[in-house]
Symmetry: C2
Subunit: 242 residues, 2 copies
DNA sequence: TGTAAGCTCCATGTATACATCGCGGCGCTG
DNA sequence: CAGCGCCGCGATGTATACATGGAGCTTACA
């Protein structure tokens, strides 16, 4: 066998197929045939089926009526709506956190994350790798502050879609100039959010989280309004069908 | 073979297992073993795996770290939070419907549904079967009015959980007296919702939808506060772990 | 020429044998 | 007695052969 990563064939198939779907190599609407994929990847149908099942769980594939799988299509409107839903869910998490109250250690953890993010700005050019990681951690923590497993799970699920993640579009290198301003504004929102939650201001926390998600939406709309040149460098948008 | 319903073994296994999980026969945390289930249902492991995978998509099973599946546990708090999430999502659908505008034929369809629900009340004892069907149809239509496939999908997904459906707890026969009042209040909310959407009052529509979902939450809390006697007749609550 | 029946092929469904891997018990050894 | 390592079992992972069933084509008959 080849010496790829990961242990099982199903894992490798999952990773390979996910990559192809997200990369736009398998456009939305494409029917995936077990035999063809099995031959292509040099494994049997069984691990292929396992991989396809998991991709269906990730909402990257739809089950066809009479059996089989189809690559899900994402139009621009779907991206926008998905981000809207993320905003709504994160808003709910923030509101619940405020309403139910957050244990002080957790609040301290959040404030520490904010300081760490501040520190990333100190360098000349921002270390996007690090920022993405911290930003994702902050959003995950905010979900946990709701003290609702159900909500955490739903947020994690929607966030797994590549273009809906709070850290999507950050790896886009095209408009470094605007970046600093954008990130600084986002950080202001982070601070206000924690403040609102700490003050038990549920409505304010929810509104802030929703508006915070709007930044991602503005990014998408900006990227799509400027012709292909910009979109080229944005892997998260390769999946778009139109 | 036995002459159950449905065509494939995987389908039958799916239905059988879902029934056992929802019925509380397989309590939360139970590890499901392919071989054991295969022997028990008299089929091979392959269709069992297919069924387990689909149950994971339905969020009734969790994948165990090292492979395998575990029945998901639902505590009371999870039920409440799930209903909260449904309310939030339906609220978003109602708001988007109001903000984006709804085609008149669709609004007419909604008003027609409201009239049909009114008609159900005419009889001496309400036909709950019929009411459930119409109520579910109304909620589905409201989701569609958002004109967002993503949102529809998420609502449908969360609504698939037995205790989160807008028609859950309606089959409970225990407090017929209060029922008429409850349903009539719900219908008032339905009417106000459509009115708000038609008037493009996004905030009002969202608030109303959220409050409407609270009715389900009150039902749960009422049922749980009255000892087992009441809970017996409520199949939707059999899944509760505690 | 149109229609309907039947056939054939292809894709998924199913069973089963074998592989692999992790874990726990048991025994050996220092 | 303690610690290490080996062995074996049980669970999932994988391959493969065969079953099934539907769609499209072809052919024969009206």
């Amino acid at each position: 066998m080849q010496e790829e990563k990961s242990s099982t064939h199903a894992q490798r198939a999952l990773i390979a197929l996910r990559k192809r779907i997200l990369g736009g190599e398998l456009p939305g609407g494409t029917r995936l045939f077990e035999v063809a994929l099995a031959e292509e990847l040099g494994i049997s149908r069984t691990p292929i089926r396992a991989a396809l099942s998991r991709l269906a769980e990730e909402a990257l594939l739809d089950r066809a009526p009479g059996g089989g799988f189809v690559v899900r299509s994402f139009a621009v409107a779907d991206v926008v709506d998905t981000i809207e839903v993320r905003g709504v869910l994160e808003g709910t998490a923030a509101r619940l956190a405020a309403e139910r109250g957050v244990p002080p250690p957790m609040l301290a953890e959040a404030r520490d994350l904010l300081r760490q993010i501040d520190r990333v700005f100190f360098g000349q050019s921002v270390d996007m790798e690090e920022y993405s990681k911290l930003n994702a951690a902050f959003h995950r923590l905010m979900a946990r502050m709701s003290q609702s497993d159900v909500l955490c799970r739903e947020i994690e699920r929607i966030t797994a879609l590549p273009f809906a993640s709070p850290s999507a579009f950050l790896d886009d290198q095209s408009h470094q100039a605007a970046l600093a301003k954008t990130l600084s504004a986002a950080q202001d929102q982070h601070r206000a959010l924690i403040e609102a939650i700490a003050n038990r201001e549920g409505f304010r926390a929810e509104s802030l989280a929703r508006e915070h998600a709007r930044a991602a939406r503005r990014n998408v709309e900006f990227l799509l309004s400027h012709e292909a040149a910009l979109r080229e460098g944005v892997p998260s948008l390769a999946i778009l069908s139109s």
